[in-house]
């Protein structure tokens, strides 16, 4: 078999071999972990600093807009963010525009709040899910009591101490958008951030990050955490001494697995291009010999 034939066959090999390589590049670093350090980028640092500057006792609005598919990227951020907010003695109002977020948010919120001895309804509340996408965001901007008349437990939110004096989004000194896509950070920026000049930070999936960077650069977002590396960097800032007893830092653990996955894809691109370049002249001249 000539080199040309080998390369041609290589280019058209069964894609399941490529799949197998991908699986190995993900599983192997988990079974045999290695840790490379990483720096915190300016956008994540700015996100962290924005929360740090809030005076204790302030009430933060958190929009948890994700689903199980985006949990690996966003749950570590959300977990660390709740820890950060409660540790800073801030009050937290959480809501969601994605129907599949509440079952994840509710237990996590309760667990972190209990660790900090926070009381439901006074120090934190979960308003649950609302349909309507951009209309719901507009409603949050205009009148939260009307958009979310009840919290997830069915309690009227007008009766909750934490909600007193917080009728619309602009009453909150900070809006945190944990966003897996539509509706999420972009819609918040379009519908209410600009209109009410809200102070807003965002954690988004890697796919959305390039879209949101212009918002950060234009000052519409004060901080931005993109994908798993962003979550890992935020974990590094919130948990500088490592994970809490019995817990794990999921993004920090996973970000090193990304190394091999990325190298594998880059390797495939290079190999595919080299094989193509070497076979191109003869293929163009009339196919294999």
């Amino acid at each position: 078999m000539t080199l040309f034939e080998v390369l041609e066959r290589f280019q058209t090999m069964d894609r399941r071999w490529v799949f197998l390589g991908m699986a190995i590049s993900i599983v192997a670093p988990m079974l045999f972990p290695f840790n490379l350090g990483f720096k915190v980028d300016e956008r994540v640092q700015s996100l962290y600093d924005t929360i740090e500057t809030l005076p204790p006792g302030s009430t933060v609005l958190v929009s948890a807009d994700f689903d199980p598919a985006s949990l690996p990227e966003l749950e570590p951020f959300f977990r660390a963010n709740l820890e950060h907010l409660f540790r800073r003695d801030l009050k937290v109002v959480v809501l969601s525009l994605w129907e599949s977020a509440p079952p994840v948010v509710k237990p996590l919120l309760r667990r972190v709040a209990e660790r900090h001895d926070k009381a439901y309804g006074t120090d934190y509340v979960f308003l649950g899910f609302k349909t309507g996408k951009e209309l719901a965001i507009k409603g949050i901007g205009e009148n939260i009591f009307k958009t979310f008349p009840e919290d997830i437990e069915g309690t009227k939110i007008t009766s909750l101490p934490i909600m007193q004096g917080f009728k619309q989004a602009k009453d909150f000194p900070l809006l945190v958008s944990v966003s897996a896509g539509f509706p999420g950070t972009k819609e918040y920026v379009l519908q209410i951030q600009g209109q009410y000049d809200l102070t807003m930070i965002s954690a988004c999936t890697a796919v959305s990050a390039p879209d949101y960077i212009p918002f950060y650069k234009a000052g519409q977002l004060r901080g931005l955490s993109g994908g798993m590396p962003g979550s890992a960097q935020y974990e590094k800032l919130v948990f500088p001494d490592g994970p809490l007893p019995g817990e794990r830092l999921l993004a920090t653990q996973a970000v090193n697995v990304l190394n091999l996955g990325h190298l594998y894809i880059i390797g495939l691109i290079i190999l595919g291009n080299v094989a193509w370049l070497l076979t191109r002249p003869r293929a163009a001249a009339g196919g294999s010999a």
Binding site: E42, T131, G194, T205, M228, L250, G261
Partner: protein, 254 residues
């Protein structure tokens, strides 16, 4: 830890591998769990839509004696008339309502945040940028006069690339070409981030199968690695049986 949770965790791992079996080939196990997913997700969306909007914003408000939700209720009934062909024209009113509401909020939102703010932020104060970073500053990730001008030129070129009212000839062709190159750089960056996102999702599934996404004590009770191994054996066995059956069928037909 309740037994239902342990059984659930094992089922979860089994279903994960059932979906991954699609990578081998489209097969009955995958099709089965795919339809299971469809049923569960649609059912879940309906339940959450009811408890998330219909109950608090209509039923409970009506129970409190408020009357305005009656209008919403009438609109909903008109929307449902879509399933009865004779009265389906009534559904146009709620559809018109919702489309107009979205059009209204999109119009001002896009004009304010995507148009005005983005345009306003695109022209930097060149003197201030030069005073702070000079022509190019490695310490500030390449910020400086060059990057500021590149940004304005790139943005203008991209916009002109999408301007089709003038033929793309001579000077316009050069500008348009520069716009395409800038777009390619951006799409390349997007591709890089997309790869990262997709691999991250896969990492999440493998973390579950290896028990790395749970607190350590929970993982010791559930034994997710054993669940993965058992599921793998069951699924591979089923796929082998399926393949053998398929080849027998083909043999009988041939």
């Amino acid at each position: 830890m309740p037994t239902t949770e342990i059984v659930g965790a094992w089922i979860s791992i089994f279903l994960t591998l059932c979906i991954f079996s699609y990578l081998y080939d489209d097969n009955p196990i995958y099709k089965l769990v795919e339809h299971l997913f469809l049923g569960v997700s649609i059912g879940y969306s309906v339940v959450e839509a009811y408890f998330g909007a219909f109950k608090p914003n209509v039923i409970n408000k009506l129970a409190d004696g408020q009357l305005t939700p009656l209008v919403a209720l009438v609109l909903v009934l008109m929307l449902f008339s879509k399933v009865i062909p004779r009265f389906s024209y009534l559904a146009r009113i709620p559809i018109a309502f919702i489309v107009a509401a979205f059009a209204g909020v999109k119009l001002t939102g896009e004009a304010n945040s995507n148009l005005m703010t983005q345009v306003a932020q695109s022209m930097p104060n060149l003197a201030a940028v030069y005073a702070e970073h000079g022509l190019w500053s490695w310490d500030a990730d390449g910020a400086g006069l060059f990057s500021s001008l590149f940004l304005v030129a790139g943005l203008s070129a991209c916009l002109l690339h999408f301007y089709f009212s003038a033929p793309h000839q001579r000077g316009m062709k050069v500008v348009s070409r520069f716009g395409v190159l800038v777009l390619m750089l951006s799409f390349g960056a997007s591709f890089g981030y997309t790869v990262m996102g997709r691999i991250s999702l896969c990492i999440g599934r493998v973390q579950e199968m290896l028990g790395l996404n749970r607190p350590i004590d929970e993982a010791e009770i559930i034994q997710p690695q054993l669940a993965t191994l058992v599921s793998l054996v069951v699924i591979v066995g089923s796929l082998v049986v399926w393949r053998v059956q398929q080849s027998r069928q083909r043999g009988a037909e041939g």
